[in-house]
């Protein structure tokens, strides 16, 4: 017996494409697809037409031609005879250098300012508020050019270090020279160096990594691992017997002693900058453009990070702290075990997005002549080769890859710390 009848089988009418919700979404999507493809086709067609009118065939062959320009701040070997690809690589490393340095300094300043802004001390809190509002409400480009202008105008030139009665002098026991061309600091040298590893052979992307550095890193990581093992053992003893063995000198020792031994074995010494002629020689030279960019980006981003940190700490309800206190935890433990784990969950996602902003803002390096990837690939290479389309495409692709990888890290973190709800 059939009590259920089949639904009325309506024949398909054209108006159902608009009025029937079953078909409407498909209609709209097809219209959107056609519109989108038409737009893309129109743009590509115009581009092809314009490029063939200009006689430029899209090609990336220029990347393997000699660049013909110098880059003054670089981490890897580069001469003006190197290829454009090599120049872009130097630029990319410079971008990453300033981004990493900037993120580190911005985090330190940001956390300190954010915490101090919550201080019960009225005057300290107000000073921090003024700092945050001052830096947040003025364009970062202005801070960058201002920092550069201050470095050039107010710091002594290397010439002023010369002569019997110099008007400027090096600081920290004649080891660091602060000049308007940049800062010269001692560089680490190894008299019994193990040499370098050469990566990527003869290609444009080859670079060297010092084996000394790798050895030092390996020893450091090994030391930290052993130190953690000691801590685990101490924890275990505490859990079973209730008494914690004193381990701090052991833990410090296993990290520090091997490092010192390796440093002595490699013949570690410092190479000091010296005034020769009209400029300093030796030591590590951080150019003023790098310093101006680094400081301006860090101070600017720190004001945003301070707000993120403040928001994160304020978001933890007071009851949490009080409950932890009622359990008998000391203030340090309350911070470490109760407040921070919860606050970090709130702080870290916007913090990473601030890192992303800093990395993207580092493209303003071009305003002070720091040769990051925008300055090399999107600046001089673009102007010399006249390949706007290809260079800008590569430039945007590079930034997209950096951004998307940072986003991936953020999503992974969010997924990991997400509160598991019902």
């Amino acid at each position: 017996m059939t009590t259920l009848t089949d639904p009325p089988t309506e024949s398909f009418r054209l108006s159902m494409l608009i009025y029937d919700t079953r078909y409407r979404s498909i209609t709209f999507q097809i219209i959107a697809l056609i519109g989108f493809l038409t737009l893309i086709g129109w743009l590509v067609n115009n581009t092809a037409q314009n490029l063939s009118d200009l006689g430029k065939e899209p090609s990336f062959r220029f990347m393997t031609e000699p660049a013909g320009y110098d880059i003054n701040q670089r981490l890897i070997d580069y001469t003006s005879q190197s290829t454009h690809l090599r120049a872009a690589f130097v630029g990319l490393l410079n971008t990453l250098l300033v981004a990493v340095m900037g993120c580190a300094l911005a985090t330190i300043i940001g956390v300190v300012v954010g915490v101090l802004r919550l201080s019960k001390n009225w005057i300290v809190a107000k000073i921090m508020t003024i700092y945050v509002e001052m830096f947040r409400n003025v364009p970062v480009l202005l801070w960058i050019v201002l920092a550069m202008a201050i470095m050039i105008e107010t710091l002594p030139s290397p010439r002023e270090f010369k002569g019997d009665e110099p008007t400027a002098s090096m600081i920290l026991g004649d080891t660091v020279a602060i000049t308007n061309r940049g800062i010269y600091t001692p560089e680490p040298l190894f008299s019994r160096s193990l040499g370098d590893v050469h990566l990527f052979g003869q290609s444009s992307l080859n670079f060297n990594i010092s084996i000394d550095l790798l050895v030092l890193l390996a020893v450091l990581i090994g030391g930290i691992y052993v130190s953690r093992q000691i801590k685990h053992r101490a924890d275990k003893i505490q859990e079973t017997t209730g008494e914690r063995p004193t381990t701090w000198y052991l833990r410090l020792g296993v990290v520090a002693v091997p490092i010192i031994i390796v440093l002595v074995a490699l013949g570690f010494h410092l190479g000091y900058p010296e005034l020769k002629g009209f400029n300093f020689k030796g030591g590590t030279h951080m150019r003023n453009s790098l310093i101006a960019l680094w400081l301006a980006l860090s101070l600017y981003t720190a004001s945003f990070i301070a707000e993120v940190v403040r928001g994160g700490i304020l978001a933890i309800s007071h009851g949490q702290t009080e409950a932890a206190g009622a359990l008998g935890l000391r203030p340090g433990k309350i911070m470490n075990l109760v407040v921070l784990p919860q606050a970090l969950r709130i702080i870290i996602p916007p913090l990473i997005s601030q890192y992303l902003n800093l990395t993207k803002n580092s493209s303003l390096a071009i305003a002070v002549g720091y040769m990051d990837i925008t300055g090399t690939l999107g600046g001089i290479t673009l102007n010399q080769t006249g390949r706007e389309l290809e260079t800008l495409l590569l430039l945007m692709l590079t930034y997209l890859i950096i951004s998307l990888s940072i986003s991936l890290v953020m999503n992974w973190y969010n997924e990991r710390v997400k509160l598991v709800e019902r």
């Binding site: 709209f28 050019v145 997209l400």
Partner: protein, 434 residues
């Protein structure tokens, strides 16, 4: 038995709190010297403040207003016995160049036009920003202002903006007529088609004919003459105005059930958010003409505005998406159960709440966009920072740093800070919670 118990039957008179717990001393004890560490912090901070004020105030109060070069400033200060970079400010550079910092190379006989435009801008914004304190009729002025602003700033014949306005009026009436007879969707399409026909085919000849009969207009001003804060504000205001609606559409697209629409929006938003604005400005200055039909060559300011708008709208979309995601599902379901269709529920239920939640983010985006207008100096436009480079290259002012950048920073600070204060006011006004 004698009654030895004693019960006081009247209240003791209230005593004043101890002098150390109230008033300025009490406040200082609570906020400045509550503990030893706090007292040390206070003293360090006080010393810092005094040090900064001690060098800043004399620097600010320096009688160099009339100097015509940095050398003259230095000699005036030298006569007063003040030397060095912190000896005193050289305000002569501001007096000498503030007009340029405001208007760039805008023809000086026409300065009244930008000035009037910005007063009108304030008037046009008033009904949006302070709806309850302004007369209702003023909103009509806000509607006309987008057509008035380019005409006043760029000059030219009055008939072009009027023609553009007429296009919208035609679209409206066609929409009304068709909507009364047929469906709304068809009416929207018909209105759009009518307006496009007017703009593409009819407007040009008619406006041309009218301007030859009645040549009423202003002297045209070239885009390359725009500069200073005039340029920043023009780019900022137009890009802000367009990025909000585009951002709303993108956010809705990203939340859409239609996978194709969703992926187009996601792709656009993630692409724009993944690249720095400066690369987009490079595209505007070198590439945009390659993407358009051969022979197209349009204004550099317009190109920059397009790119700044696209850039900002992607960020706006993410902010608004946050607001949409924060709304409880019950709101969407409630709107559906009332029988509202998609656009009605968005307009009446969802958007008013989602936008309210995202006000701080939206205003933050506005501030960011306004600050980012300074990037145009890198592609060679003369915004305040571009001009500052030019001024510092001038032999008379070679070496001037703090005064110039301080002035520009102060101006930006005033604009951005008032925007953020306004957003706080708006948040308080719209707060419906407890």
């Amino acid at each position: 038995m004698a009654d030895v118990s004693f019960v006081r039957t009247e209240m003791l008179p209230e005593r004043a709190p101890p002098a150390t717990a109230v008033g300025i001393i009490g406040w200082m004890r609570a906020n400045l010297f509550s503990s030893a560490l706090n007292s040390i912090l206070t003293l360090i901070a006080l010393a810092f403040v005094l040090l900064v004020l001690g060098s800043l105030v004399p620097w600010l109060l320096s009688p160099t207003w009339n100097a015509v070069s940095l050398t003259e400033c230095r000699s005036i200060l030298h006569d007063l016995g003040r030397e060095g970079h912190l000896g005193g400010a050289c305000w002569g550079v501001i007096r000498d160049r503030w007009v340029q910092l405001m208007f760039g190379f805008y023809p000086s006989s026409e300065y009244w036009r930008p000035v009037v435009t910005f007063f009108m801008l304030a008037l046009a914004l008033a009904p949006i920003l302070f709806a309850e304190h302004t007369p209702k009729k003023l909103i009509w002025f806000t509607a006309i202002f987008p057509f008035l602003m380019p005409w006043l700033l760029w000059g030219g014949t009055v008939w072009s903006p009027l023609g553009a306005l007429v296009g919208f009026i035609i679209a409206y009436f066609v929409y009304k007529a068709v909507a009364a007879a047929m469906s709304e969707a068809l009416a929207m399409i018909a209105g759009l088609v009518a307006a496009i026909i007017w703009w593409m085919l009819l407007m040009g000849p008619i406006a041309g004919a009218l301007s030859s009969i009645m040549p009423f207009g202003f002297e045209p001003v070239q885009s390359r003459n725009f500069g200073g804060f005039l340029l920043s504000i023009t780019i900022g205001v137009v890009a802000i105005g367009f990025s909000l609606p585009i951002g709303i559409v993108l956010a809705l697209g990203r939340q859409s059930d239609l996978p194709l629409v969703k992926y187009i929006c996601v792709g656009f938003i993630e692409f724009i958010r993944g690249v720095p604005l400066i690369t987009l400005l490079f595209v505007a200055s070198t590439l945009l003409n390659i993407f358009l039909p051969p022979g197209t060559n349009f204004d550099i300011i317009l190109r920059v505005i397009i790119m700044a708008t696209l850039f900002s709208s992607a960020y706006m979309a993410e902010t608004i998406r946050g607001g949409l995601a924060a709304l409880p599902t019950g709101q969407y379901e409630g709107a559906d159960s009332l029988g509202l269709n998609y656009w009605q529920s968005q307009r009446l239920i969802i958007m008013p709440q989602a936008l309210k939640i995202s006000i701080p983010g939206i205003v933050g985006n506005f501030i960011g966009l306004f600050k980012d207008t300074t990037l145009v100096s890198i592609i060679g436009l003369l915004d305040p920072i571009g001009l500052s480079t030019a001024i510092r290259a001038d032999t008379a002012w070679n070496g001037v740093v703090w005064e110039l950048y301080g002035f520009i920073a102060f101006m930006f600070f005033v604009f951005c800070f008032s925007m953020s204060r306004y957003s706080m006011y708006l948040e308080r006004k719209l707060k419906t919670g407890h």
